[in-house]
């Protein structure tokens, strides 16, 4: 029994790359889910997806210039992601088009440009690495980058937390209260880009968004409070990233998809058995009479 436990859960971490990958995954699991929770609450769930595509050309350019160097690719990704976010914001202000429409246009252009750039300069193996991640890619520099970015995200989020909450609920109130209200949204989008850039190394650009969104959407089935949502999402993300890495190690499958599929399994489980709004909760409601609440 102990041998099995050891072989499955402990032994893989004898390898340095697995240790680095799991630390990176845990760091990301602290930073990504809170962003996802805010995206879900603001009805912007798909923006994360769009941004994930938007960083691709930058990553690809970095790849063309410096080979498979994570810092260079990350800087490229951040710059490109921020540029797309700014452009989308500008277009939506200019033409009265909603931000999501502008974002949708930009991200598909970015995706095409990114894939084009990578295939110009590399092989399909490189493309797979960038799109779907590779635990083997995480060296000490990359780990420092991931943990550094995650720390920055958590601290910044703590600083703008109240403003972000107020903006979700009542943007007009925030605008009345603070001259910097416009910044809150921009800083938030910036954090999103940073997080996706940190995530693409283990998860790949397309999968990085999963660690942000799936724990957040799953948490909706378990809590009705903001702190609860964030806490549960973080725990789910940590389980998914660690478990996914182990699965990827043992079954020899790509790390990104296996982490995200595990998070996806968590989502289905939550949707079926969660405390609120899940299938089980609906069935429970049918069998027990509703408590009659006196009030207006």
């Amino acid at each position: 029994m102990w041998d099995l436990f050891n072989a499955w859960l402990i032994a893989p971490f004898d390898y340095g790359f697995m240790r680095r990958a799991v630390v990176g995954g845990l760091a990301l699991s602290l930073a990504a889910p809170p962003l996802g929770v805010f995206l879900v609450l603001r009805g912007m769930s798909l923006i994360g997806d769009a941004m994930a595509h938007a960083i691709l050309p930058g990553v690809a350019l970095g790849f063309l210039l410096a080979g498979f160097s994570l810092p260079v690719m990350s800087v490229g990704g951040v710059l490109f992601g921020l540029m797309v976010a700014l452009l989308a914001g500008a277009v939506s202000k200019m033409g009265g088009q909603r931000e999501d429409a502008a974002m949708a246009s930009f991200f598909i252009i970015s995706l095409a440009a990114g894939v084009m750039l990578i295939s110009l300069g590399g092989s399909s193996v490189d493309l797979t690495h960038v799109l779907f991640g590779s635990v083997l890619a995480i060296n000490s520099t990359a780990l420092l980058l991931i943990t550094g970015i995650s720390t920055l995200i958590v601290i910044t989020l703590a600083v703008i937390f109240r403003a972000l909450v107020v903006e979700c609920l009542d943007p007009l109130f925030l605008r009345g209260q603070s001259r910097h209200s416009g910044w809150v949204h921009s800083v938030f989008l910036g954090l999103l880009v940073l997080n996706l850039t940190a995530g693409f190394q283990t998860l790949g650009t397309l999968m990085a968004v999963g660690l942000m969104m799936l724990p957040a959407t799953s948490a909706r089935f378990w809590s009705k409070r903001l702190e609860g949502l964030i806490g549960i999402a973080v725990v789910l993300a940590m389980i998914a990233s660690t478990g996914g890495l182990l699965l990827s190690f043992h079954l020899d499958i790509p790390s990104g998809p296996s982490i995200i599929l595990l998070a996806g399994a968590g989502y289905f489980f939550s949707a079926l058995f969660g405390r609120y709004h899940s299938l089980a909760a609906k069935l429970r409601r049918k069998t027990t009479p509703l408590a009659v609440e006196q009030g207006y």
């Binding site: 109240r162 909450v165 107020v166 609920l169 009542d170 007009l172 009345g176 209260q177 009705k224 207006y296």
Partner: protein, 244 residues
């Protein structure tokens, strides 16, 4: 009560437009501290446009809005539909966000703030709902929580857009009492109303918007003047009378 203090909000020959379309022209007036002004007019008469201008969200084409109340002490309570009330936040947390002007975005709340928040909730009769999520409240309870936020904010200028819509009569009574108290404390209150009964109970002045112009009148004028027969249905928007 409203003897001499200078008006903190004045309109001078205000001309407002939405895009290319003029909405209001030549609107003058002053809103006194401690006075409750009802803003009435049919749908599309320009109530929302005027409120946008008062809040500094819309730049006038001509004329000016002179407001000596600092932006942080201006409170604007939109119609409930404009807010995302499914956000996972409790009544107490909503009320506490009103402490922003004195407290900023970073600092944590201290005991004195929580005490003040609890006093406010007691005043509004929502103490028992302090930890209830906003999404589970009724229209009347929400409205009280939102008023609680403006009390916390120590607003000096308060604009409300149909605060009594979708609200039970007990809440209406409480809100009218609270708004009266706020006015007695010197707050300038402007409230968009449709219900003439509420208007009679609450308003000191009436600014009626119609045909692109503003007309000041006393609340009594709406019930006692011979013109009432036309004015009331007109302001309620029940009949279509002319347009800009």
């Amino acid at each position: 009560m409203k003897a001499t203090p200078p008006a903190r909000l004045q309109l001078h020959d205000l001309h407002l437009a939405q895009g290319q379309r003029s909405v209001l022209e030549h609107v003058d007036g002053s809103f006194q501290p401690g006075a409750i002004t009802a803003l009435i007019g049919a749908n599309g008469a320009g109530k929302s446009t005027l409120i946008q201008a008062l809040m500094g969200e819309l730049r006038p084409i001509n004329g000016e809005v002179v407001c000596t109340v600092p932006k942080k002490r201006r409170a604007w309570l939109p119609q409930q539909l404009a807010l995302d009330l499914t956000f996972p936040m409790s009544v107490e947390e909503l009320v506490m966000t009103g402490s922003w002007p004195s407290h900023g975005a970073m600092k944590g709340y201290c005991a004195a703030h929580y005490r003040k928040g609890r006093e406010i909730m007691a005043r509004l009769g929502i103490s028992n709902l302090a930890h209830r999520p906003l999404g589970e409240l009724s229209g009347g309870q929400r409205q009280r929580a939102l008023i609680g936020r403006t009390l916390m904010q120590e607003a000096e200028l308060l604009l409300l857009d149909e605060p009594f819509a979708n609200v039970d009569s007990e809440t209406v009574d409480i809100l009218i009492r609270i708004l009266r108290q706020m006015a007695d404390d010197g707050v300038t209150i402007i409230v968009v109303l449709h219900d003439m009964d509420h208007l009679q109970r609450l308003a000191d002045d009436v600014l009626m918007l119609s045909g692109g112009h503003g007309r000041w009148m006393a609340p009594s004028a709406l019930t006692h003047s011979p013109a009432t027969a036309q004015v009331v249905p007109f302001t309620l928007g029940e009949h279509h009378v002319g347009s800009v």
